[in-house]
Symmetry: C2
Subunit: 294 residues, 2 copies
Amino acid sequence: MVAAEVRAGAGQPEGTSPAKGKVLLVAGTHGNELNAPWLFDAWQRDPSRRPACDLELVLAIGNPAARAAGRRYLERDLNRSFDPDRLADAGSRELEVDRARQLLADHGPAGADPCLVAFDLHSTTASMGNSLVVYGQRPADLALAAGLQGRLGLPIYLHEADAVQTGYLVERWPCGLVIEVGPVPQGVVQPAILQQTRLALEAALAVLMEARAGQLQLPRQLVLHHHLCSLDLPRHGDGAPRGVIHPRRQGRDWQPLHPGDPLFLSEAGETLAYDPPAGLGLDPVWPVFINEAA
Amino acid sequence: MVAAEVRAGAGQPEGTSPAKGKVLLVAGTHGNELNAPWLFDAWQRDPSRRPACDLELVLAIGNPAARAAGRRYLERDLNRSFDPDRLADAGSRELEVDRARQLLADHGPAGADPCLVAFDLHSTTASMGNSLVVYGQRPADLALAAGLQGRLGLPIYLHEADAVQTGYLVERWPCGLVIEVGPVPQGVVQPAILQQTRLALEAALAVLMEARAGQLQLPRQLVLHHHLCSLDLPRHGDGAPRGVIHPRRQGRDWQPLHPGDPLFLSEAGETLAYDPPAGLGLDPVWPVFINEAA
């Protein structure tokens, strides 16, 4: 994915007190991302290890069936299954669409045990570090992200207006964001990833507590990386890749990319330079989710 | 896995000319290990990119169905499906057992298009670097591995006598070994992994060519790491892990481990030291395949 850096005054937007209700924490939305579920299991066995927090927390494993199978999903990506139209379509009976309905019936804002904020805890094979993803420009999400950036300096990827990628979980809660930590292989638990996940979550809960107490001090400026487009590998006519991420770009998420910079390495060993897609006049852009397995 | 380091005189054992027939190269024995299949695809499109070699090479994708699904395997691990008893059991109809039979019927030593040597190209999430695995102590395998170690210095993991892990592909060919490269996440192609895989394979073919020409000079000494046992994570009574690989051990494959060294980190954040299993008097031992996802 390629993003533009945007600096916006954050100020104190309305809607910065979203934490009057319970907070939903979701781990294992993708069944082969094991680090956040590992934390949940540990906290379940010994609740004293949970992040110290006077908010009411609800913990849920997003896709338990996919987790049991060690796969990202079984029938369709749960984190692309929360489109209102799809959820309302009685003909959509994929396991993950039913699971999305269940999560909303249980813990949605109008559910049996309602939550008003949702954190969805992911990991990635890309070198995203400890980072946030927000979907669209809802003021409460941006305020929460700004508070987190003010505390930990986390980079923020603003994903919106991509017609082929929709239906994210957190969009169905009044306020919510994704915490994305990497690099870590699918199927692997690593202490550094556990620690970063916990750190981001603790900071997020601290921001919510400050907001509820009316004491949230937001930074004067919010730096967002705004989704521009997805860049695919170069491909042959039959769709097979004809190159891989260049060694000088592998692992360099959140670092600027200029036209002419090495981006791919072809099968023949040639360096393929970054050539901006038509209409993309920005220079530099900031690649994220580089070489994510999914 | 934990291994002991063994230094043995290699000399010129009998059976160092195994390359009179064709050489089978297998990639994608595990469907989510994408780097070697990527090379095969590139070589298929442009055979001039194949390693320069006057041996007859036969290229095969081990488990095409699992590769298409992006999974290690569908019904059972193909690389544990080559036990003669299982292959002979008409009741064993798992997809991978049938695939093993097919590979042998096609390219086994008594197959339609027979090969006498097999290289099985794997990748791993563990920091194995560029390394070799041999199964048992067949002289031809050890000579081949010694030749490779003499050229590239590759470490060698000798796997044998583990009753719960049997049925490896290369065991069914008169000579063969596994090339194991990492770390790389499952489902990810990286140029460094491609390059290492190609380098090890080119050296292996060069060793075979020397052997065929009667010119193979083996190093005076062969350093093997001999399989001792598998060490599991510490677990709760219900089987759930109660710790992860310690940050000071993560990524340190092939490095000595002494009793008392940090090995795991518990849920509570305590360091759990390495305590040798009963009867394992060796000090140090050498862990390999640390935190491999599979």
